[in-house]
Symmetry: C2
Subunit: 344 residues, 2 copies
């Protein structure tokens, strides 16, 4: 029933170690030997025991995905991307949702790493932005890859980062609205402490500046990345009969935009005839509102797959070529029905 490496070795007429070499794709195994072993593996339907490999080997065959993010779509995409890479490499994925608020979060992560002897970690925002965590990981000597908002700064410490250029995306969307004739464009920010918020806001401001549109601080509403925040933000911006004559709202993400859409509906405002609204991220969500959201497509599963790729390239003896790993992703604008020409 249970097939061990020893069985395979006997069946192929070689030593256990040679089988091990084949399994691990180590070099210096003659083609003929390799084939013999593979044949035996197939015939016996041998499955290497992960626990034993983890225990005996230098590094384990598991990586971790750590997140503190309430957005289900985001997480699932991230997870799937990393998972697909793991499958490819024969690694296991240990997922670890956590709460940045909690005091013991760091200790918890450290515990997990030790217990599972993780080979590496993929960190998603906003955790990836927290220096204390990074410091702890460095101290523990675990390799990790951070998903960050921004663009590759060519810095030394950028080696283990994957960037999403939110600045560029926000710039593009804002410019799109400007081209449509909008002059009073508001922005409902996501969580202040997320770097994506800063980046998106900066892109928005830059686009305004480049088109000689003064940036009115009243047009910027501070909020969080949630539907409710979108509702409140839009309500606040448009209250008292929209004195600022806002004709477009940029949502911090799709949920915020959906919230703004919701608020607009409550106020009997026609979208996009009277008000344009755009989102961010292109979650499935943005296709399930009415009207559908203009947004910036961010292929989270691809991004996270590359994160895992990068991690593996560092973990193992760089068998992978770093060359084909993209480290900066720029979301593309997707124009749908929620944005239109500015009303006059």
């Amino acid at each position: 029933m249970k097939v061990t490496i020893n069985d395979v070795a006997k069946h192929a007429g070689v030593s256990m170690k040679t089988v091990s070499r084949v399994i691990n794709k180590e070099p210096s195994v003659r083609k003929k030997t390799y084939d013999q072993v593979m044949q035996a593996v197939k015939e016996l339907n041998y499955q290497p025991n992960t626990a034993a490999r983890n225990l005996a080997g230098t590094s384990s065959f598991a990586i971790g995905l750590v997140y503190d993010n309430p957005n289900a779509y985001y997480i699932i995409d991230m997870q799937n991307g990393v998972l697909s890479r793991c499958k490819e490499e024969g690694y296991e994925l240990v997922i670890h949702p956590c709460n940045a608020q909690r005091e013991d979060m760091q200790a918890e992560i450290a515990t997990m790493i030790k217990r599972s002897r993780l080979a590496g970690l993929v960190l998603t925002p906003p955790l990836s932005e927290q220096q204390p965590i990074i410091d702890m990981l460095d101290e523990l000597g675990v390799s990790y890859v951070r998903l960050l908002s921004g663009h590759n700064e060519q810095e030394e410490n950028a080696r283990n980062c994957i960037y999403v250029d939110d600045f560029a995306a926000a710039y593009e969307i804002t410019e799109h609205l400007i081209t449509l004739g909008h002059k009073h464009i508001a922005f409902v920010c996501g969580d202040e402490e997320h770097k994506s918020t800063t980046e998106r806001l900066a892109g928005y401001k830059q686009a305004l500046a480049d088109h000689q549109i003064a940036c009115n601080e009243d047009f910027i509403h501070k909020g969080t990345y949630s539907f409710e925040s979108g509702v409140n933000g839009a309500k606040a911006l448009l209250k008292d009969g929209n004195p600022n004559q806002i004709t477009a709202i940029l949502g911090g993400n799709d949920e915020v935009a959906a919230g703004a859409l919701f608020a607009a509906r409550l106020m009997n405002i026609e979208i996009p005839a009277q008000l344009s609204i755009s989102g961010f991220e292109d979650s499935p969500f943005s296709r399930q509102t009415w009207p559908k959201l203009t947004t910036a497509h961010q292929a989270n599963n691809v991004i996270s797959e590359h994160a895992a790729r990068l991690l593996f390239s560092k973990t193992r003896g760089s068998r992978n070529h770093d060359k084909d790993i993209v480290t900066t992703f720029t979301p593309n604008m997707v124009v749908r029905e929620s944005t239109g020409p500015a009303p006059r």
Copy 2:
């Protein structure tokens, strides 16, 4: 740096085996000894090595979550529920998304079980409904828990099932609509092969029957559990000026309902003034539409936590008491703004 069980043993002045007993909460350890060991564990900050435990022990410290479901909210909730239980028990969770379409799915699952020597499996619908998979698991001798639509039938093989009573929930929602005066109530089904579809449809029919309302097969639209299907379903049901005078639509789930909402909007139908729409599952989604959806709340994280609980109660020497494990959950109706009195 690395603390082993041996270090703890020395520090506490006992044998390795005794430390092991403490770690595993085995009986027959004197309180005094127990305290000594725990103290040493704390002082040295000892973390048991999962790989070694998996290798040496009879069963491993990992369970698997297998799913084939595109619904991100559903998966995340399920995952979180199982994960919280795992954390409690010191287990790891191996997640395994898969595609029921693929030929090699079964082999893949078997491989995963063998590689990781999983202690058990949690199966979510629709995979949990597929007999071939169940047979394979039985053959492999792995313990598992199935999440199913239906109610506990007290059958022998129901021992490892957690039920969600979709029948009752559909009945409740339909009755709610009937009470509001609706007589022409349509149903947009989810995927035909999902048991939840059958159950929900049956509940709907039963409610109609109990209230002497004839069931018109034209009111039943076969579709899938997707937004698009909701759009298409509603369009089909209401086309040509709504000849059937449908005043309410029951969506197969929240996404379908949101799709119906979308379609209604396209047709300039007021919700709920002209048409009531209700969903199913109470995903975050249902609170982010306009108007918010009436739906049936299904606490997926609680449900899955109980699934894990049940699994652990079977896996280990029934240290857990089966008694406090709920095996049938009935979703509660949540009335929001998408349903209202029937127009006259």
